[in-house]
Symmetry: C2
Subunit: 263 residues, 2 copies
DNA sequence: AGTTGATGTATCATTATTTAATACATAGTA
DNA sequence: TACTATGTATTAAATAATGATACATCAACT
């Protein structure tokens, strides 16, 4: 039915079901059948059946009154399984907790995910925007200190490729959209071993990121602290937070050397 | 192919795909094709196709060397969508952050989910077990202070039903498995407005929970603090933490009165 | 009240898709 | 080298998903 022919191993029905799940996001917190039809582009009958099945299987809640579908607790259980599956998480979490406890500032673990970063762990400390406090958020990597400091550990070709092809979205009036400037920032981060941004995601926010590097020196994750520019200026961040953050990051091995044994 | 006949709206293929996803948990962090076959009970060919599709669609990572499948970052994105969809989360989060900042102790938001509780928000402060620090964990409700204090706001019939039919698993040598004793605890919690347990989930841990009640007085969520019995005794918890926790919980409305508008 | 339009629900013949068996490929072990 | 377990590829067969359609329900408007 769809124009795109695939490998015979491809199960279209499952892919469609996933499209229904992924229709939910921060601007679509609950969806009616008709809305699902619009968002997924699937047939009304198909959405009816898929949503029914997802509901039966406990993946979607349904409001009996409005008949709208919502994500279920199962979506949090999946995150739980993810956390166990990613070996970096268990190594990083205690260090983040310790940093948060000592410094009382917001600290995050970001991982590269294609051309975005995703926040895998967040320990919010100050009042901040909701989106900036919850895990799973994806942001264009080039626009973040975390993304830049990871790129700073990569090869020149990889950086060049990222600079010309990765997306970049203006989030605040101060967001840098000039890729040449970002190239500079990455080069600077490569020298300094950290990246610091101001007001890129949220106004009046200073963000400091350091890489979590593996044995080959390449980073796929970064530690990041976010502070308000009302309480900090960049210099104070460098003096008070940077050494501790570097220290914390160095205590987190960036790579696993062995595979999991059979279960 | 399965013996169970369903509503014609039920799409079996999608349900099978979900079974593959749900095969991953804390003791199955990565799975080979053969292991997926065992765990899901599906045909090898089916698993081959479903896993292939989930991989194509970005729901499963695959190690090119070992050919084992793992959860992908998409699992965290789903949690992100969940957080936006549940209106309690955005109301509770800033209060939890504030509590955590002021008291420096671990605080959680638990929600009832069938006969289990699920930890929807966690702000760990002290070093503690990994499982106790990450969101999405489900625990038998009767065995937790949070579950008991929620039940304490329910009707006598509901409590009776829960006491006789809900599961209960011994996690530590001190775990109470006598349902009569738990009945007592619930009755006590109904009087006190809080529930306090010691060493039920983790030895040397004291857990204090208070309900988040809606206008009808029934709770579907609870705030819970966990402290080490090395630093606290129950009396000190009651004196130092309980008033603040009650205060925090009372600042979180437990129910929404209006529905979301169309998108 | 009655009409209209939008949404959710139910049914069913058609056929495209999944199925499950099998054969082949590859890798690790004895 | 042979053996076993695991992953991959290819089919014919028929099951199970499809999508069109009809019906039901509800809200808004005249």
């Amino acid at each position: 039915m769809l124009e795109k022919k695939q490998n015979p191993l491809f199960v279209g029905t499952l892919a469609k079901g996933l499209r229904v799940l992924r229709a939910f996001d921060e601007s679509h917190v609950s969806l009616s059948l008709a809305e699902l039809v619009k968002l997924t582009g699937l047939e009304k009958s198909a959405v009816q059946r898929l949503a029914h099945t997802l509901h039966q299987e406990g993946m979607l809640e349904r409001d009996p009154g409005t008949r709208r579908y919502r994500p279920s607790h199962a979506w949090l259980e999946l995150a739980y399984a993810y956390y166990w599956s990613d070996p970096l998480i268990s190594r990083a979490l205690p260090k983040l907790v310790e940093f948060s406890r000592v410094h009382g500032e917001t600290v995050n673990l970001a991982q590269i995910s294609g051309d975005h970063i995703i926040y895998a762990l967040r320990l919010p400390n100050q009042r901040t925007q909701f989106a900036a406090s919850i895990i799973g958020r994806r942001v264009a990597a080039l626009g973040t200190a975390a993304g830049r400091v990871m790129l700073a550990t990569w090869s020149a070709q990889e950086v060049a490729h990222a600079l010309e092809s990765w997306p970049l979205h203006a989030m605040t009036p101060k967001t840098i959209t000039d890729r040449a400037v970002i190239a500079q920032e990455i080069a600077q981060a490569a020298q300094d071993g950290y990246s610091l941004t101001q007001g890129q995601m949220i106004l009046n926010e200073i963000s400091l990121a350091v890489p979590i590097t593996g044995i080959d020196g390449r980073a796929h994750a970064a530690l990041q602290v976010a502070v308000s520019s009302h309480s900090f200026d960049p210099e104070r961040v460098r003096q008070e937070l940077l050494p501790a953050l570097l220290d914390t990051a160095s205590g987190i091995p960036g790579e696993t050397l062995m595979q999991e044994p059979r279960s």
